[in-house]
Symmetry: C2
Subunit: 151 residues, 2 copies
């Protein structure tokens, strides 16, 4: 985890952004942000599982709603690993993914892009624009497996 802000700072930043965008600050929203700070790339269900210990009654629907709100304010990014599951993480510039098409393994890649998000926002009229680069390919192990049957 290579965050530029510590958990407390992220918390404060999110609170500010929620307010700025007309969302209420709720304990569930903050809890999910903190969880995302600690976890790798949880799915909605994993987040739900982790939070049921903290909040005895918390529903999956709330997790989805909250993630959606957090995406809207540019704090969370969802991405699909493999076709099926959807994973979420705190948005960080320069933090990208390389995903195996076969086994859905996710490799984190930190690299500078020369992409100007502000400019994209300006030219398109979009708000809260986040950017991420997704690499796709076949990992070495899967490449072996795929060619193996042909031997």
């Amino acid at each position: 985890m290579a965050f530029f802000l510590n958990k407390e700072q992220v918390r404060e930043q999110v609170k500010q952004r929620l307010k700025d965008n007309g969302y209420r600050v709720t304990s569930q929203r903050l809890a999910i942000v903190e969880l995302l700070f600690d976890l790798e790339h949880p799915t909605a269900d994993e987040i739900y599982q982790s939070l049921t210990s903290e909040f005895s009654n918390m529903s999956l629907a709330t997790v989805y709603n909250t993630l959606h709100s957090l995406e809207n304010i540019g704090t969370v990014r969802g991405f699909s690993c493999g076709e099926k599951c959807f994973r979420y993480e705190l948005y960080q510039e320069n933090h990208h993914h390389l995903i195996c098409n076969e086994c859905s393994k996710i490799v984190d890649i930190f690299l500078e892009t020369c992409i100007d998000t502000a400019k994209v926002a300006e030219q398109t009229g979009f708000k809260n624009v986040t950017e991420s680069v997704e690499f796709r390919g076949i990992c070495a192990e899967c490449a072996d497996k795929l060619s193996a049957p042909a031997e």
Copy 2:
């Protein structure tokens, strides 16, 4: 559509790549590639609908299988627009997306990046690496709608 290759050239390229990667060249695979050349960002189901006119009997399962194979050889890229639907397109460098978190509108963005896909492949051992930049945000109309209730 700003393809560097015409349809025939894409066809030949795909045939070669299929062979190179140990996949068979089938009419369904070529048909899907040609369709992707013509269509914007079809979903699997839209592809299926379009092909049923050409192939009287063609199943959705085959569409999914084929798309997956084409992804593996780096010809097709799938991406999620909104959380629900999955869309597919021919892979082109410098062709990226800006997606609205609310209405899932897709804006195509062509921009040069300083991303070196070959280097990523080299450093990670992945094969057939494709790259795409995905921008997310809230489009102007949805931003209006979201703030409207607060007025």
